[in-house]
């Protein structure tokens, strides 16, 4: 399994962190004439990265006696229950209720038979001699659960997937795990295209696509005539997004292109009908204090938004004015509250003053002012 080297990740981060001054046409790759001709990306190192197979898609080649699995399950439950006393920081605590739920999902992903044979041991007449087929060895399952609790490895990386909307997306280290909040971006697009067919026909772009979650969600709501270009700077993200697109047989609608923000979109200036992004927006100073699962395991490239977190967002605002056609729609996810207001203010001032209409801040389910949306005038 090829990992992106930390040094490479850091360099990419630096190059992404100075977006306002980074737009110099000379540095960008050669122009793409059209959507169909631009099938191959100039940097092809992502092609050599093979995405990991998530647990639930592996071959169930490990026959294991039920009694041994029960033993593992009891151990895993005890470990999950024991976490709360050991933590002192209440903000960054493992919640045993959630861990027990995750354990159930881990079993669902690991076993071919009905998970109930493990979960409801007491109701099974079997004395445990029967074998069940597992997608991972018991040894690996011990290891995975230890990683979850002791290393605070995110559950989604442990099982290699995240359930998001009606999708199951492969994820792995190096790719941001899509958040429940972000599901709303697709809901907004769904509502928009339901009202106006115009948006179904043109090009959409999802910048910094990560696992490809938003691009895939949008492609599905656009219907068969939809076209989505998904870009990312990270070769791992490109490989994983491409794999997810393939799993949903959307290669005909979504094109994954490697590169920074708008660079892979040359030739589409003023042509997009929609632009969406969940860019890195966390202020750099907040990065060290992040929840362990996030701070220790998820890619900084996808999280760190510069000093006040708006570096990438401001770059996206300018790009939106260049790339969207008249009437085109955009939605960006933000850090909430202060930051979303900042972005709206920015879009109403200076050289972007007359570019957008109906700028709105839309809150997420928790009531946080999460998204900025609007239309190109």
């Amino acid at each position: 399994m090829i990992r992106i080297f930390p040094s490479l990740r850091f360099t990419s981060l630096l190059s992404a962190a100075k977006p306002l001054c980074s737009y110099s046409p000379a540095r960008e790759p050669p122009q793409y004439a059209s959507f169909t001709e631009a099938k191959s990306s100039p940097q092809t190192n992502s092609l050599s990265i093979t995405p990991k197979t998530p647990l639930f898609l592996r071959t169930p080649s490990h026959a294991t006696s039920l009694s041994e699995v029960w033993k593992w399950h009891d151990w895993a439950k005890d470990l999950a229950s024991s976490v709360e006393e050991s933590s002192t920081n209440s903000e960054d605590i493992l919640d045993s209720v959630i861990l027990h739920r995750e354990l159930k999902w881990l079993i669902e992903d690991s076993i071919v038979d009905d998970p109930l044979v493990i979960l409801h041991k007491s109701e099974i007449a079997d004395n445990g001699e029967k074998n069940v087929k597992l997608r991972a060895s018991l040894e690996e399952l011990y290891d995975l659960w230890r990683q979850r609790i002791e290393k605070r490895r995110p559950f989604q990386y442990v099982v290699g997937c995240e359930h998001w909307r009606d999708l199951v997306l492969c994820v792995e280290e190096g790719v941001l795990i899509p958040r429940p909040e972000t599901e709303l971006i697709v809901d907004m697009v769904e509502e928009l295209v339901a009202r106006d067919e115009w948006f179904k026909k043109g090009f959409w772009a999802d910048l910094g696509t990560g696992s490809g979650a938003i691009a895939i969600g949008i492609a599905k709501v656009l219907g068969s005539s939809g076209r989505v270009i998904a870009t990312d700077l990270s070769p791992v993200a490109i490989a994983v997004a491409g794999h997810n697109v393939q799993r949903y047989s959307l290669e005909g609608m979504i094109e994954v292109r490697e590169g920074s923000w708008f660079e892979p979109l040359k030739g589409l200036e003023g042509k997009l009908v929609g632009l969406v992004s969940n860019p890195p927006y966390i202020p750099s100073d907040d990065i060290p204090g992040l929840q362990a699962e996030v701070g220790r395991h998820e890619p900084k490239l996808a999280l760190d938004g510069g000093i006040d977190g708006t570096d990438s967002l401001l770059h996206l605002c300018h790009g939106a004015s260049r790339m969207l056609q008249r009437g085109g729609f955009f939605v960006f996810e933000t850090n909430g509250e202060k930051q979303s207001k900042m972005i709206v203010d920015y879009m109403m001032s200076n050289d972007l003053k007359d570019c957008f209409s109906d700028l709105k801040i839309v809150s997420d389910f928790a009531g946080i002012n999460r998204f900025v949306t609007g239309f190109r005038l």
């Binding site: 009606d166 966390i282 009437g327 700028l359 839309v362 389910f365 949306t373």
Partner: protein, 256 residues
């Protein structure tokens, strides 16, 4: 079973009570508008507002706590015909709800890895709450919560029925056993696990409520034997519990 657990849970909190006043707080505060431009070239059709989803940090809701005046087991039949909420599409029903997620305080978004994708729906016109926690995606939990809401609406909201001129609606006919003498179509009976059972169950509860909890009287109206109707009621846990609480309020012994 999960449905019943939730139903039982909220039975304690939300008495069988129909509220007609739509809370005045039903203003969506989730969208902040900035420059309202009205372009001249017909763009306005494209400028839609995206405000279907509201959210709130208010946990309980004010209309749920004031159950003092009505005993838990009493179902209130309204004088005015209420809208039949079950006839609304999922989208329409969703618009009558406030959606809440459970989350700890904090910035959310990229800051958190939160496996908890639980969803809680509060149906504002009735104050009924449905929730779903068990699925891995918020999207699916929302769908499950909506299904549960439909079941709870069927159980808790009573529509007025005129027994003298009673004609069972089609949704009720299709859940009746083939033996029923009023069953006209030859279609097979819809069972309790089918989502179409829910509107039929609501209509059935309306009849039983109008008959003051009497199974014999209701059975007559439906062309069934008392035993036949009892079996139908006992086939669905929520239905059985609703009928029994209705009977308890009239001092009639429960069905078993």
């Amino acid at each position: 079973m999960a449905i019943m657990a939730v139903a039982a849970l909220f039975h304690a909190r939300f008495p069988l009570l129909l509220r007609h006043s739509v809370p005045s707080t039903f203003s969506l505060s989730s969208v902040i508008y900035y420059r309202r431009t009205v372009p001249s070239n017909g763009l306005s059709t494209r400028l839609c507002s995206i405000l279907r989803y509201s959210s709130s940090v208010d946990g309980g809701g004010s209309s749920s706590g004031d159950s003092g005046s009505v005993s838990d087991s009493v179902s209130v039949v309204s004088d005015v015909q209420s809208p039949n909420y079950l006839k609304f599409t999922d989208d329409e029903l969703m618009k009558q709800c406030r959606l809440e997620t459970f989350r700890v305080s904090g910035p959310g978004g990229q800051h958190r890895n939160k496996r908890d994708s639980a969803v809680r729906l509060k149906h504002l016109p009735t104050g009924i709450v449905a929730q779903a926690v068990e699925d891995r995606s918020q999207h699916k939990n929302r769908a499950s919560a909506l299904n549960r809401l439909r079941t709870l609406l069927a159980i808790k909201v009573r529509n007025k029925v005129d027994l003298d001129a009673y004609a069972p609606p089609p949704e009720l006919l299709q859940i009746l056993p083939p033996k029923s003498t009023i069953r006209t179509s030859s279609g097979s009976q819809i069972g309790p696990n089918n989502p179409k059972f829910v509107p039929g169950m609501q209509a059935l509860l309306d009849v039983i409520s109008a008959s003051d909890g009497s199974i014999a009287d209701s059975a007559k109206l439906l062309g069934l034997s008392t035993g036949g109707l009892s079996r139908l009621i006992l086939s669905h846990d929520g239905l059985r519990m609703a009928v029994n609480s209705m009977r308890a309020s009239k001092g009639i012994k429960p069905l078993k």
